[in-house]
Amino acid sequence: MTMNTPASSSTPVIGISDLSRRFKSKLALDTVSLNVERGQVFGLVGANGAGKTTLIKHILGLLKAESGSVRVFGLDPVAEPVAVLSRVGFLSEDRDLPGWMRVDELIRYTRAFHAKWDAAYAEQLRQQFQLDPTARIKQLSRGELAKAGLLVALAHRPELLLLDEPSSGLDPVVRREMLEAIVRTVADEGRTVFFSSHLLDEIERVSDRVAMMACGRVVLQGRLDEILESHFRLTLRFPTPPPAPPKLAGALLVTGSGLEWTVLCNGARGELADAVVKLGARIVDETAASLDEIFLARVGGERSTSENLLLQANSTTSSKTDASG
């Protein structure tokens, strides 16, 4: 049972299909596909440089899709920037607001672009965020700058709220205000939120769906509760120390030594139990994996592939020297 009934239209608010993008020699996005439905909170997780901002720039039409397609409200943001941008509220990662403007000038300026601007709501937000209308933007602190950017993004009640690392560099008080804004937005019928973050506890709190990116690829995507329910951290106890790290189908990360090994794995509980028995071990502890651990396991896998190859190469050479020596 969901809170928001889906709107009559079935087109997703954001539809990205097989999007790839190369910057000189670097592949910033690698066949990314995702859909964001109306009324959802979609969290995009990834380390710095994973491609989150590049993806968001594609959604805004600031980057053209080299291959694949991007559709926002069913429209191409490059071909129809006005139609798309008038319904989107955006807070950029670097909060680039003109430093010379005053806060009230900023509000007045942004207001001119949106017919649906709610002046009373804007004023309420301004008082709630405690922003001095005569202050110049370049004199604002980091938190106030983020709040000013959020104010002008929210005040016209956009259908899509797009936030790029909303909490980066902010203290816990301001972070909480950001999250409250996200929750309030989605609680209004039919409005959608898409935000990227590398703070996983925030993503866990407010997202409906989550996508994890690493090295330009989406490594995991789905409903947050399903992801959390399908990942476990099992502690296995072997009767004798196994010669090599135990291989379990669906295991993402295996750590440990001697008799006890911890495995972070993904799959159906029953099948996992059977597989453990087949290995000859028993499960002594079992906890739900947090999003943090799932992310590290998944993303660590992506990044350490090259390291593993290196390790393998080294180990084969060393085993050769062992054999000859």
């Binding site: 049972m1 909170v41 309030r184 609680a187 709190r205 002594v284 906890t287």
Partner: protein, 128 residues
């Protein structure tokens, strides 16, 4: 209604809400017939996704702890309805499984375990 959510608990957020509401009802801090905050209000207060709160309320309703009155909100249901008693015992049996398994794991005897249970019951009663 004061709830506290900690995301890194290992327990999903909706389950934390469910457990805490159950605790509040069980300990008498939520009286029967008392109204729970609307989904949206609680979501804003806890800063969690409204769908999560909705799911928690749904589960609470399914367990018979709260009832949703159409159009006017969610209320704590009256206890002692015989039709739901079997459900209640089933839930408790599940909890008991976990408790017993834990006790066996920790190598605590069943008699000691029962003593602990009685002790906690006395403690709760004294707080009312």
């Amino acid at each position: 209604m004061q709830l506290h959510i900690s995301p890194k608990d290992g327990v999903p957020i909706y389950r934390q809400i469910v457990n805490q509401v159950k605790y509040l009802v069980g300990s008498g801090r939520l009286a029967s017939g008392e109204e729970l905050p609307p989904i949206r209000v609680l979501a804003e207060q806890l800063v969690v996704n409204p769908n999560t709160v909705a799911r928690a309320y749904a589960e609470l309703e399914h367990a018979g702890i709260v009832t949703k009155r159409h159009g006017s909100g969610t209320y704590v249901s009256d206890n002692g309805s015989p039709l739901k008693r079997a459900e209640k015992l089933k839930i408790l049996a599940q909890r008991a499984d976990a408790l017993v398994a834990e006790a066996r794991h920790l190598e605590v005897e069943i008699s000691e375990l029962l003593d602990v249970v009685r002790e906690r019951h006395r403690f709760m009663q004294s707080k009312e």
